[in-house]
């Protein structure tokens, strides 16, 4: 064993293992969340509201209270948040959450689409609020990608990054990447301001402008990467860092190999 540890290849192997670990760690950290789809539709009727109430009592009431009035320090009141907020939170898997955390991550969706619709109808019946957008409201046909880019850069990019890759906020919170968000979820997020995100109501950013922004996000994330790996599309700093570290390690290896003593005459 000791002999093997002193084998000339041993140090290269150690550095190689270190590299692999860093690589896998990076892949884990930047892993893309699972995509989810929640077909639209908010037909409200008494039966659906009753179904939604049953689901609410079973799934949500333990934190939000049996009357959805909220519990101070644990969960906010849901009266008046609207069906759009419910659809966003549940269809992205952020809710139901096991425990109150600073930032609820995107998770696999727990409820069926009909359950989400019923839950949204029940919450909307408690106090109105922003409604789930129709398919036409989030359609990208006729939307202006160029205007959308200007609006996105002005109002969204400071947190979500100019390519929608997300970014860090204060005290463990973060702006999530927009890579897996459906157009409907993006619309609902602007309308309701989930988590720490500011609210952009329909008079601050008009429905047409919202569609422009959605069109920009969808088109940008579908762009090919002609340069090769995108490295999370977070800009030149990451690319430079990867190239710097990669080249530096290569140079270290090369220098080690070139200057290593060799031949039997010296040993």
């Amino acid at each position: 064993m000791t002999a093997r540890r002193h084998h000339p290849a041993a140090r290269y192997l150690v550095v190689l293992l270190g590299l692999l670990l860093v690589g896998f760690g990076y892949a884990l950290v930047t892993g893309v969340g699972e995509a989810s789809a929640a077909p639209g539709g908010a037909a409200q009727n008494q039966g659906q509201i009753a179904q939604g109430r049953v689901i609410f009592l079973a799934v949500c009431a333990s934190c939000h209270g049996v009357l959805a009035q909220g519990v101070p320090g644990v969960a906010p009141s849901l009266i008046g948040v609207g069906s759009a907020a419910v659809d966003f939170q549940v269809s992205t898997g952020r809710m139901p959450s096991r425990e109150p955390v600073e930032e609820n991550p995107r998770k696999p969706v727990l409820l069926h689409p009909w359950q989400i619709r019923a839950l949204a109808a029940y919450i909307a019946s408690l106090g109105g609020g922003p409604a789930i957008p129709s398919a036409a409201q989030v359609s990208q046909s006729g939307a202006h990608v160029g205007l959308g880019e200007q609006l996105f850069v002005t109002d969204c990019a400071q947190c979500h990054n100019f390519q929608g890759a997300g970014g860090a906020l204060t005290y463990g919170k973060y702006a999530p990447p927009l890579t897996a968000s459906t157009p409907k979820q993006i619309y609902e997020a602007m309308l309701t301001g989930p988590e720490a995100m500011p609210v952009f109501n329909n008079t601050t950013i008009t429905p047409q402008q919202k569609r422009d922004i959605i069109a920009y996000i969808v088109q940008t994330r579908n762009e090919p990467n002609p340069g090769g790996f995108s490295l999370g599309r977070v800009g030149p700093v990451t690319e430079g860092l990867v190239v710097f570290l990669g080249l530096l390690l290569f140079m270290v290896f090369a220098a080690l190999w070139i200057t290593a003593r060799h031949g039997k005459a010296h040993e």
Binding site: Q150, L151, V153, T154, D155, Q158, C159, G167, L169, T170, Y171, K173, A175, G193, E195, A196, M197, P198, V199, F200, N201, T203, T204, I205, Q209, P224, P226, W257, I258, H262, G263, K264, A265, H266
Partner: protein
């Protein structure tokens, strides 16, 4: 050895000290060995061929043979990759985005292989086939010989005399006068770095009654439309949407709070003596977007904690308490823009900021 002066330097004749332990003289590869002259004195002058300093063949001949094949293989790889580069140049069309990507891959990959093959082959050649002998060369003294120094001095003095520079003061003085303005000219050009900024850093273009426009949409804002608590947008002064010099200081974010959320009063405002009671409209507060640390756009607003975060160095401001600094390197709160509404109900500036926006400068440490 020591009786041959050709190619020797002063201080180079301590033959006994100048040898390594195994007898090889300290010398740099490529310089002539003692006893041999590059000028070719004639074979008759050299009594016998001196002993070799470098071995002509490696000790381990079979290993050297293997190394030779590896080196040749590396060079062949470089040769083939060079051919592939030429082929790739002609076969990959470049008139589409995908075509450019393929062409870049082909050209880059083949050229990398050329350089890799050459570098690897050369390195293996040096390491495995060339002898590993250390030769040391004594440093040549920097000071010229006394004869050279005396000769230079004489040449200089004779030249100075012959040029009449010393004897004819009229020429000497007019020459000096002629060069003085030309020498002063570069210093004069430094003036173009100005003018001095005067009060530009102290004030922005905000003035009483100037409307706040939503950035990029360029539409004015009413308190009724900007009505959802937790909203935050960037606004610019009306008429300056495309004047980037002005916007670099005048960009502002406005935040809509729920009633009772803006906690500070005149008494505990982080900037003592600031009158802020009537600076807000309907729980809408306007802060400078320019971070007071080094001037990055600070607009990462969290509606749950009311933190305004600057992404450059993580300066964090509390929007409910006059944008007081709660974390990071910034030393001052974000200046607040006083607002009111005009006759048509649009948000307008009440007057300019009461303090300079942005980072510190000479007169404002």
């Amino acid at each position: 050895m020591s009786d041959s002066p050709a190619g020797r330097w002063p201080g180079d004749d301590q033959t006994a000290d100048d040898q390594t332990a195994d007898g090889a003289p300290r010398r740099v590869v490529g310089t002539p060995p003692p006893g041999r002259s590059l000028l070719g004195d004639g074979a008759a002058d050299v009594p016998a061929a001196p002993p070799r300093e470098l071995p002509s063949d490696p000790e381990d001949l079979p290993s050297a043979k293997r190394a030779e094949r590896v080196v040749a293989a590396c060079f062949m790889v470089a040769f083939l990759a060079g051919l592939a580069f030429i082929v790739a140049y002609f076969v990959f069309p470049v008139h589409t985005l995908d075509g450019v990507a393929r062409s870049n891959l082909g050209l880059g990959l083949s050229m990398s292989l050329v350089f890799l093959g050459l570098a690897a082959g050369t390195t293996i050649w040096v390491r495995r086939l060339m002898p590993d002998v250390e030769l040391t060369e004594a440093r040549k003294p920097l000071r010229s010989s006394e004869e050279d120094r005396a000769a230079f001095e004489q040449t200089f003095e004779e030249g100075a005399d012959a040029s009449q520079f010393v004897k004819r003061p009229l020429i000497r003085r007019t020459l000096i006068a002629a060069s003085l303005p030309a020498l002063a000219a570069p210093i004069l050009l430094l003036r173009d770095l100005g003018p001095l900024p005067r009060k530009d850093l102290t004030f922005t273009v905000w003035r009483p009654g100037l409307r706040l426009l939503k950035a990029d949409a360029n539409t004015p804002v009413t308190p009724g439309s900007f009505s959802s608590p937790g909203s935050m947008i960037t606004v610019v002064p009306d008429g300056y949407q495309d004047k980037f010099d002005a916007l670099a200081k005048a960009a502002v974010i406005i935040i809509k709070f729920a009633p009772g959320q803006v906690e500070y009063t005149n008494a505990d405002h982080p900037v003592p003596g600031k009158v802020v009671a009537n600076w807000t409209v309907d729980n809408i507060v306007a802060y400078s977007k320019i971070c007071t640390h080094v001037g990055c756009p600070a607009a990462l607003y969290e509606q749950t904690t009311h933190h305004i975060l600057c992404p450059c160095h993580q300066s964090t401001f509390d929007a409910t308490r006059g944008a007081a600094v709660i974390f990071g390197p910034a030393t001052r709160p974000l200046p607040q823009l006083p607002m009111t509404v005009d006759a048509k109900g649009f948000l307008v500036a009440r007057h300019d900021f009461t303090e300079p926006v942005g980072p510190s400068y000479w007169e404002r440490p």
